[in-house]
Symmetry: C2
Subunit: 170 residues, 2 copies
């Protein structure tokens, strides 16, 4: 706990990228970029009467069709009451289908309906467009660094979820 990062400390190689000023810029970059990152989906969701919570559910059901409620809970990191409100709306509106598990009838396996898949497409198209434009502008080396830093920022448990994400099929 000697190096608090309060100032530039030289160990032979330059550590100027670890100054408080550089860290602060990184922090503010995250703040502003995340707002931009969510702005396009937010606009679309608003037209459909949904929020970010619905987007997250639809995204991960698309990624892992047949996933269970419990699985989704772990990935999204919210309470079941919170997720349930969202899922109920999506199921009632015919965007998500909930099938009772064959092996374990307590489980509900979640799938996007064609309508749900259409919304997912619309949302991810918008989000990918911004990401593609940013990637293209920054170039492949920058993109590699971007991914490296973001991954290093995650907690080990989250990094695990990020890396793998199969499962779900009953």
């Amino acid at each position: 706990m000697a190096d608090t990062g309060t100032g530039p400390i030289q160990h032979g190689e330059s550590l100027l990228f670890l100054t408080d000023e550089q860290l602060r810029k990184g922090i503010e970059a995250m703040f502003f970029a995340y707002r931009a990152f969510t702005s396009d989906p937010d606009r679309i969701l608003e037209q459909h009467g949904y929020g970010r919570a619905h987007h997250r559910a639809v995204h991960f059901i698309h990624r892992a069709p047949g996933t269970t409620v419990n699985n989704l809970l772990a990935i999204l990191g919210v309470t079941k009451q919170s997720l349930n409100r969202v899922l109920r709306a999506l199921i009632e509106d015919g965007l998500v289908e909930s099938r009772v598990g064959k092996r374990d009838k307590r489980e509900r396996h979640l799938y996007l309906t064609p309508v749900g898949a259409a919304l997912e497409q619309e949302l991810s198209d918008a989000q990918r467009a911004r990401m593609r434009s940013a990637f293209r502008a920054a170039g492949p080396e920058a993109v590699a660094g971007f991914r490296q830093v973001l991954e290093a920022m995650m907690d080990p448990e989250m990094r695990r979820q990020y890396a793998s994400m199969r499962d779900g099929g009953q």
Copy 2:
């Protein structure tokens, strides 16, 4: 609008980093990393009975002491009524001081009190610690790429705010 990025398209140089799969990984990396990014401050804020909105206000008042409410509004991108609730709590609790403008008495200039500065320090220490650890693990080249991509992700107006951020002194 020919290239929708739906598949890898070669123009002589490799564009494999722009495939939908790579973009999707970038999107999910943002989602998970942002959650990690906010988790440390969230824990601290909870102990003090505040939320993220208070953090944002305290952060930018620290960055630009003497900033006006209107200025803060533009940076944070919320309505003045929303910000006002947060500021009222911070002022009542003695973390922020609001001084009537000398030139323009309609304006309120905002400053952190010693108590407010202490909370800001606690929050930014935690956030910097995670950022520093991620930066250190990824290395300077990765950090440069990280910043490049995030900046390219912002809207021009936001990028302006991110780059400059002085002002405030009455």
